[in-house]
Symmetry: C2
Subunit: 370 residues, 2 copies
């Protein structure tokens, strides 16, 4: 299957059907220049008036209140109306921040996202969540603003650093843990990065499109996250805490790296039986082997980390999923078997975290010993 | 019919059914203290945890970016989650600003509005529009956030100045121009303000509930204002321009006063036949008399105004309803007969405005001459 053919015409058709009075393009600065030119041509053939183009630094630091104010000023200068469309091309942080600004500008300018990272291709660009960080907590402000279309093309990822590319695979792994078909699909995927030719890029695009479908199906049942959509937060309660905690340090973790740690921690629980609520589905030997392969080859953890349970707990207390003073989480009981909500007590979290850290240290020593 | 009985239990029931983890109450400072006490008791019997109560100045000046930032900080201090509910009690500016902040806090805290002015009772509290002013233009930023419930009780209005009370009747008049039943209802309404007893307050509450139903029906067909909802902007294209223009002067007009001028202007067009597009429905002599009575007794204009067409045009160019460079407006062709969109050319607006001003001056001289 050709990944580009899967969805390439859809976004241009969606743009034309939306009959925009103006179209604006906001993309990351440091993308492949040739590809930017290629897409600029596509945009110009799809609309009558490209009223503005803006290159921004991508990454989490743009998700600020101040950046939103800057974007609103630019929307004003461009004369965007409620009939306009903003096309974003970048990672999840860019589509989150630009999406938020667009969603409050005149109560909503429409959006089309062209994600340029694995993370945004399978997660951030889908489902309409926009957001910025605020008051030290991640995505504390935001809206639901479903884009008109999302277009995935893995060629955008060729300029990504290996670190950023790999981090994004954590969400691909998460979708695999939520859905048996995606699990088998990811296990069968043997391509390496970077691809050697156009066909290999297309195969990656296809993997991302399929993985994103796991999210799309879940979101369709609960667009405003009042119920089942919460299971997409697998690994994220701890992940967001790690991300928030490290964001103030000299070595901030990427979202995908933090989610990778969250997934390792969440899946550790089941194998050690520390959680007592709910029933665990037995993993077959075969599945356990595949699971381990995904965890250790697709979402390896960063080296040299050390967080105390106390540090993480304070950040977990700010999670948006909480109700009142309870800390709510998503528990994993086998591929596609999810428990939501489960509630953490501080003591049981501390015990589980200590056990996880000890276990991880043993694993690391084993892995690095001759 | 008893106005309070019409809707008083609904909001408390809606609050209980929403199972909030926390409830916060934000109201205007200068409301009837006894009534505030009465409603505080109602709130405390409807929820387990009133986590915060905040008194704010009401009015258009609170609809700022800075005020939203303050509110977000307060939401954080109160520990509001996505399962919390914010109850507002105040005029439309308060519910607009608080509603906007609530709608972006963790992607949406739920709302209940208790409007305390005619304007908010029949208009602002309904239909889910939130917003603040920005970059010199009204409601440039906002969201759609439908409240769980709206509760109308005219007793809140007893502390309103006559100027503020009267200004709010402009929206009641607008609904009457949009809907024959509401038109006849308003014509039949002979009560004066302030009411002399509880029964008269209840009759006013009933009038407001009925008037608000005109808006509710229209909004239900088009919640995000992509079509028919635009007819609710009757009188508002000019009205918003007057409001924005005067907001920078020493004598800012109230929203309702500006809409009153907008309605007079919009309805003037038909009687003078300056507009040539579309067909005019003939008004019966009886209807014309009623129309005139509503315009001159329910929505009289402020004294001593003078705006040039040029001044108003510049502000009209910022209207959110515009598409591209066209200025779009809503035209009136008889009770319940609305044309949308109609497009202004600058020259025809200038000519219509001059004719309107001349006609108004003659009318004023006649009205004040002995």
């Amino acid at each position: 299957m050709n990944g580009e053919e899967l969805n390439s015409h859809d976004w241009q058709e969606a743009l034309q059907l939306s009959k925009p009075d103006r179209v604006a393009w906001i993309h990351e600065k440091c993308l492949d220049q040739e590809l930017l030119g290629h897409y600029r041509t596509k945009l110009l053939t799809s609309c009558t008036d490209l009223c503005g183009e803006l290159g921004l630094e991508g990454g989490e630091p743009i998700k600020t209140w101040l950046q939103v104010e800057n974007l609103l000023q630019i929307f004003k200068d461009w004369g965007l109306t409620r009939s306009s469309v903003v096309v974003t091309t970048g990672g999840g942080a860019l589509s989150d921040a630009v999406g938020f600004a667009a969603s409050i500008w005149k109560r909503g300018v429409r959006l089309i996202h062209i994600p340029t990272t694995p993370l945004s291709a399978v997660d951030a660009a889908w489902g309409g969540k926009t957001g910025i960080n605020w008051g030290g907590a991640k995505n504390q402000l935001g809206t639901f603003a479903e884009p008109l279309a999302v277009h995935i093309d893995a060629q955008w990822m060729r300029t990504l650093s290996p670190r950023h590319f790999r981090a994004g695979l954590a969400e691909v792994a998460k979708h695999a843990f939520l859905n048996l078909e995606a699990f088998d699909d990811l296990c069968a995927h043997t391509l390496s990065w970077p691809p050697q030719n156009k066909e290999e890029f297309d195969l990656w695009s296809t993997l991302f499109v399929k993985s994103s479908n796991v999210k799309r199906q879940i979101v369709a049942d609960d667009p405003e996250e009042r119920g089942v959509r919460c299971i997409l937060n697998l690994g994220h309660t701890l992940g967001h805490a790690v991300e928030a905690y490290t964001s103030g340090t000299s070595e901030p973790w990427l979202h995908g790296e933090a989610v990778a740690l969250g997934l390792h921690f969440t899946l550790f629980e089941i194998s050690h039986g520390v959680w007592t609520m709910g029933n665990c589905q037995e993993l077959s030997h075969e599945q356990a082997k595949k699971l381990s392969a995904i965890l250790h080859t697709q979402v390896p953890l960063p080296q040299n980390w050390s967080f105390t349970a106390e540090e993480l707990w304070n950040y977990m207390a700010h999670d948006k999923k909480n109700v009142g003073n309870e800390i709510r989480d998503v528990a994993w009981r086998g591929v596609g078997h999810i428990l939501w909500p489960v509630h953490w007590k501080k003591k049981s979290f501390e015990a589980t975290w200590s056990a996880f850290v000890r276990s991880w240290e043993k694993f690391s020593q084993r892995a690095t010993s001759p």
